[in-house]
């Protein structure tokens, strides 16, 4: 008979048990980060590269796993996103140094990076592994340890992916526990993690409730709210190219990136050409009756029908009872109103694009502002126009912090194919009740200690005077255990090294003794 573990008194749901579990994971992370901060830039880069390589190699596997587990998205696109958050991400930041101090002789300031230490990261169900890769690599670049909290709907693929990255990190010499994952996340457990004083920074990507909870935790948090991007197409734009790019964006991973276009707003002069261009780009422009069917399918009284998240256009059309060609990439739904009375003007994480014709540019901009007022404040928008007065007027008016011009918004606002930093965490700033309005990057995981000199006195000489990095802790001996390492005692700091050396006379004696010993044999 084999012994079994039988829990007679189950306290697993108690606050004490949740806190005990969180405390242990976070303290292990604290230890790991403390040791990791002894590593120099070369060692850090080796670890980051090893982890990124592993993430890249496994991009397709985890794209399949994520689609299989969540039912959201397109494997090929998820693979691309998983790859984008691996090697290209690391290359993008390769020349950024978050490890060594930087010296500004002009301002007489030295800046020393001070990582957050322990980062707690929430992962969404929509982009689970891409976000995981992204947050892990950001943390590792910046001397941080990270604890990942997967969305319950994408738990299994995230737990396995996290384990793989953790293994890759330790195999490359990282301290154990630098990358950890909560294997059985529950809302009470996640809340305990978020409010623990051992959590130094929360990176919250996910639903509004989770992001608000992160901000309410009493810990520093960078939260990312939902999107609902308006896209303006005016008649100066290359209409065919605009349609093609919008379709490319809306069909990318079936609109699961929160940067996807939600409502296309155009003007009467461009309306007919744009509809034709959509049709030519494998978009199906719906009739009013079909729009009503879509409205009923996509929106329930409680909100968006999550069954439709990340589904492809033909699946949605079939469910709604709309006949479309098999190669249809997106559904375009003409609407006449923006606001609470029109559910289709809300965020749609599926390849359905609402379509509205405004009377003139002023009204179009007003409608775009209304789209974001409804949802997605601070997030993203797009404009297709060759007229800089239009793009400037639009970008200055809409309440969001990214406006991509003549580019697919899904990809462009996330830094794919644009000059924005590649990210899977979009800062929604003050418009979106967040602390950060930029694309989140490694810089957000580090603060800097700044040494400042008086303006009218000479600056110190800091050239080549870096921080000392001692590397991994030497393994403590286990006395008496075969193969255990021996302790290394550092030289006594009280005595100069030369004093420990024998003087000339003593040396001569030693040599003489050795010679005598030799002669005896």
């Amino acid at each position: 008979m084999e012994p079994q573990i039988r829990t007679l008194i189950d306290i697993s749901g108690s606050q004490a048990a949740l806190e005990g579990q969180a405390d242990l994971v976070l303290e292990r992370a604290q230890w790991a980060s403390t040791v990791y901060q002894r590593f120099g830039r070369g060692q850090v880069q080796d670890i980051v590269d090893a982890v990124a390589r592993r993430a890249h190699e496994r991009a397709e596997h985890y794209a399949e796993r994520a689609v299989e587990e969540t039912g959201f998205g397109v494997v090929a696109h998820k693979k691309l996103k998983n790859e984008m958050t691996a090697l290209p991400l690391v290359d993008y930041y390769r020349d950024h140094d978050y490890i060594n101090p930087r010296v500004d002789t002009a301002r007489k300031i030295v800046e020393i990076p001070r990582p957050a230490g322990v980062v707690f990261a929430l992962l969404p169900s929509t982009n689970p592994v891409a976000t995981l890769n992204y947050k892990v690599i950001l943390a590792l670049m910046t001397h941080n340890a990270i604890v990942l909290s997967p969305h319950p709907a994408a738990r299994a693929c995230c737990v396995d992916a996290a384990r793989e990255l953790s293994e890759a990190a330790t195999a490359a010499g990282a301290p154990d526990g630098l990358v950890q994952v909560i294997e059985r996340p529950t809302i009470p457990l996640v809340e305990v993690f978020m409010s623990s004083p051992k959590t130094r920074l929360i990176l919250a990507t996910g639903g509004n409730a989770m992001v608000r909870a992160a901000y309410s935790s009493s810990n520093p948090a960078i939260g990312v709210g939902p999107g609902n991007a308006p896209v303006l197409v005016d008649d100066s734009a290359d209409i065919n190219l605009a349609a093609k790019r919008i379709v490319e964006s809306k069909s990318f991973d079936n609109s699961i990136l929160c940067t996807n276009e939600s409502v296309c707003i155009t003007l009467p002069d461009a309306d007919r050409r744009l509809r034709q261009a959509f049709s030519a780009s494998r978009a199906h422009v719906c009739s009013p009756e079909e729009v009503e069917r879509l409205r009923r399918l996509l929106f329930h009284p409680q909100g968006f029908n999550i069954e439709c998240i990340g589904r492809d256009a033909t699946w949605i059309a079939q469910e709604a009872g709309i006949r479309v060609p098999q190669n249809t990439l997106i559904l375009v739904a003409p609407i006449t109103q923006i606001g609470v009375e029109e559910p289709l003007s809300r965020e749609k994480l599926c390849p359905v694009l609402s379509y509205l014709v405004a009377r003139n540019l002023d009204q179009a901009i007003g409608q775009a502002r209304a789209v974001l007022r409804l949802a997605g404040k601070g997030h993203s928008a797009a404009v297709h126009s060759m007229d800089e007065s239009v793009t400037m007027a639009f970008a200055s008016a809409v309440e969001c912090y990214r406006v991509v011009v003549n580019a697919p918004c899904s990809q462009g606002a996330a830094g794919i194919g644009t000059g924005l930093p590649p990210t899977y965490t979009i800062g929604t700033g003050y418009f979106g009740r967040s602390t950060v309005g930029e694309n989140i990057g490694p810089g957000h995981l580090v603060h800097w200690t700044r040494m400042a000199y008086r303006n009218d006195e000479p600056f110190g000489d800091y050239e080549g005077r870096g921080r000392a990095f001692e590397g991994a802790l030497p393994e403590a001996p286990s006395d008496g255990v075969p193969g255990s390492p021996r302790a290394v005692t550092p030289a006594s700091p009280g005595r100069p090294a030369s004093a420990a050396l024998p003087d000339r006379e003593a040396l001569r004696r030693m040599i003489a003794e050795e010679l005598r010993d030799l002669l005896k044999k």
Binding site: L8, L24, E27, V35, D176, L473
Partner: protein, 422 residues
């Protein structure tokens, strides 16, 4: 010192233990522990101390670990100590949990005591029954507790006082790390068991030489004696593995567990006994009776303690704590090489050795004055027992090193008579 404390110490001398109360005052340690939490003790006058004594690993997981408090409270709504004569849910559940993590699957049975001494007595009685021999071999300056048989296996300091030392030659003591002496003791094949602390704690953690413990085990096999591992202080992940004896490659016939297994919350201890040695459990299961041994509330707490120490995070923490403290202690040692002369270490089982026959006492005193509580080794006062908990935080580890450096400096000045003017 507050007047309240002065008055309290008088009462302590009067009603509890005059000698012990006074000895601490004489050593400059006026500690009266009141509140306690995690690895912190709070003196009744409010001073905080980081606990590196842990009562020999009893507070391995810290004081009043919240999960242990929770499980004890929840357990008390269903169980009490239980009826020791009957099969009992919690006792068997803990026995299974012990068997599941024992150093070898042979250690199937668990026999309970209420404290380590009683569990040692059970182990020694079991060995005598299994071998039908009486002699017990232990280590000079070994320590196994204060009950009838355990006290005889230990230093005479604790047995002679009560006229309880061995007088009939049944308890033989040999020097530690001396395989020849051990072989001499076993050669007559009249020894029931050798009892070994995997690392002798009260003797200041002298470390077994490479091959010593496996050598003792082979000698036991050669001369038909049993090997009893006393893991009371060294078990439960303190070595970086669940049981310290396995780190040395020894599979014991009987293993004694105490202190830390109680979580410091409910007294319990046990002897794990192999099928081969457990004959008395079949012949007369009532052979050892202990009303409070294996109290079911203690079992509930012990099961949670076992579960916590086996979490993967703990293993990593132990490694970090051991490496980090060692690196820091080496730096301190390099600063005071004429006084702080050695570090004995296996995981979190550590002894700091000083170049004076009572050297650990002033270090203890200055650590106490600087907010750290660590105790000298009773049987070798040159050595300070340095016993960080398995959940020590990084911040507290840094605090410990900072305070140790200060205390070692002060103690060195005191011992070597070079006190600087303040």
């Amino acid at each position: 010192m507050s007047t309240e404390k002065l008055e309290f110490l008088d009462r302590s001398r009067h009603f509890w233990n005059p000698g012990k109360t006074q000895d601490w005052q004489d050593m400059g340690v006026d500690l009266v522990i009141d509140r306690r939490e995690g690895y912190y003790l709070f003196d009744m006058d409010g001073r905080r101390l980081i606990d590196l004594h842990l009562n020999g690993g009893t507070y391995n997981l810290g004081h009043r670990h919240p999960e242990l408090v929770e499980v004890l409270n929840a357990g008390a709504r269903r169980f009490d100590m239980g009826n020791h004569h009957f099969p009992a849910l919690a006792r068997t559940a803990l026995a299974e949990a012990m068997a599941a993590c024992a150093p070898t699957p042979d250690l199937r049975y668990t026999a309970y005591g209420s404290g380590g001494g009683e569990a040692i007595d059970i182990a020694l009685k079991t060995a005598r029954h299994a071998t039908q021999k009486r002699k017990i071999v232990s280590i000079i300056k070994g320590y196994h507790g204060h009950t009838g048989l355990a006290v005889k296996a230990g230093d005479e300091r604790f047995s002679k006082l009560f006229l309880s030392e061995d007088t009939v030659g049944e308890f033989i003591q040999v020097p530690f790390n001396d395989l020849n002496a051990m072989e001499d003791a076993l050669r007559g094949r009249d020894v029931a068991a050798v009892i070994m602390e995997s690392i002798p704690a009260t003797y200041g953690f002298p470390m077994p030489r490479e091959g010593y413990l496996p050598g003792v085990k082979s000698l036991c096999e050669r001369y038909d004696a049993l090997y009893i591992a006393d893991e009371v202080q060294t078990g439960l992940m303190r070595s970086g593995e669940m049981w310290c004896c396995t780190r040395y490659g020894v599979d014991p016939d009987i293993m004694v567990v105490g202190k830390g297994i109680s979580g410091g919350m409910y007294p319990i201890a046990m002897a794990l006994i192999s099928e081969r040695c457990g004959g008395w459990l079949k012949e007369d299961g009532f052979g050892h009776i202990s009303t409070m041994g294996g109290a079911e509330l203690g079992c509930i707490v012990a099961m949670k303690t076992l579960e916590i120490v086996q979490r993967p995070e703990v293993r990593t923490m132990v490694r970090f704590i051991a490496d980090y403290l060692r690196a820091g202690l080496e730096k301190i040692r390099a600063t005071y090489p004429d006084f702080f002369i050695g570090i004995r270490q296996h995981g979190l089982i550590m002894g700091l050795e000083f170049n004076h026959e009572q050297g650990a006492k002033p270090v203890m005193k200055h650590l106490y004055n600087n907010g750290v509580w660590a105790i000298f080794s009773t049987l070798d006062p040159r050595v300070l027992q340095f016993k960080p908990g398995v959940l020590l935080t990084q911040a507290d580890a840094e605090e410990v090193l900072r305070r140790v450096e200060i205390a070692v400096d002060l103690a060195r000045d005191e011992v070597q008579g070079r006190r600087r003017p303040h």
